[in-house]
Symmetry: C2
Subunit: 148 residues, 2 copies
Amino acid sequence: MTAENPIITALGRAGLRLTGARRAVADAVAGRRGHFTAEDVLAASRSRGPLVGRATVFRSLELLTGLGLVERVDLPSGDHAYVACEPSIHHHHVVCSRCGRSVEVGELGLGPILARVESATGFRIESHRLELFGLCPECRAAAAERPA
Amino acid sequence: MTAENPIITALGRAGLRLTGARRAVADAVAGRRGHFTAEDVLAASRSRGPLVGRATVFRSLELLTGLGLVERVDLPSGDHAYVACEPSIHHHHVVCSRCGRSVEVGELGLGPILARVESATGFRIESHRLELFGLCPECRAAAAERPA
DNA sequence: TGCGCTCTTGCGATTCAGTCTCAACTGGCG
DNA sequence: CGCCAGTTGAGACTGAATCGCAAGAGCGCA
């Protein structure tokens, strides 16, 4: 877990200091398949080294969000969570509503739809957010055997 | 503003009591073109009658959300807001990032896209949330004359 | 029309996530 | 090796949202 981590590499490339706290946060983020809350990261970082302050976790998360390494999603429950992701291109996330796992799904051909909305409403669309929720294959299988 | 209000009608139809507090909240909601926060509703209801407790506003908003008369949107800023809407069919909202006005835009032909995502990821999509942000025609005009 | 049973309300206390401050620290360059 | 600015951590602080409970108010029924 202290091995090289793309998040850490990216931090260095952005000209930011590779501090212990950031490594801790980066590791905590990288070690998750699904979404996580700031609180999760806080707990994870704490359990791993000396101590990471609440404020620092939020700051680091904000930093990572700025770099596009992490994205914020709002769960249907209203909670705020984050997901790690590729900084590259525009994409969306599919979140499993049972286990929380999340998968990226690239651009979806929303362009034509946005154009349609623009002409219908007169708005100029600047940004959008699409979040998909459902059951991942595993949870689907599990649900079939033993319904929630 | 004490005239009949579709929200109030709907409350009655749902078998709920038409109390003063609910009327106040319903009026506050109906009197807005755009999104609003719980705090807005609280202030509006207060300025209109005796007094409405914070808790009651939240309870009413939750109630209206359950009835589909109001929907929650998460602004890009991370704030929680609500928009009034038709309970009828599935639809999305376009929110003006400058004045906050919001417009409904009906189903957008997301079906095929969702199907594509399902087959690509193996997930079974149960729900989705699409929020569009941009400038409404008026703000667009205003911005052209006197850039923010 | 009046009564009573519940549902609702309102207030205060409480929780809790997220932010801010500030002195101490440390990473990394020279 | 030493310095300086970028970072950190602890805790205080803020403000939104929730909870509990007793008082109050709809609405149905007689």
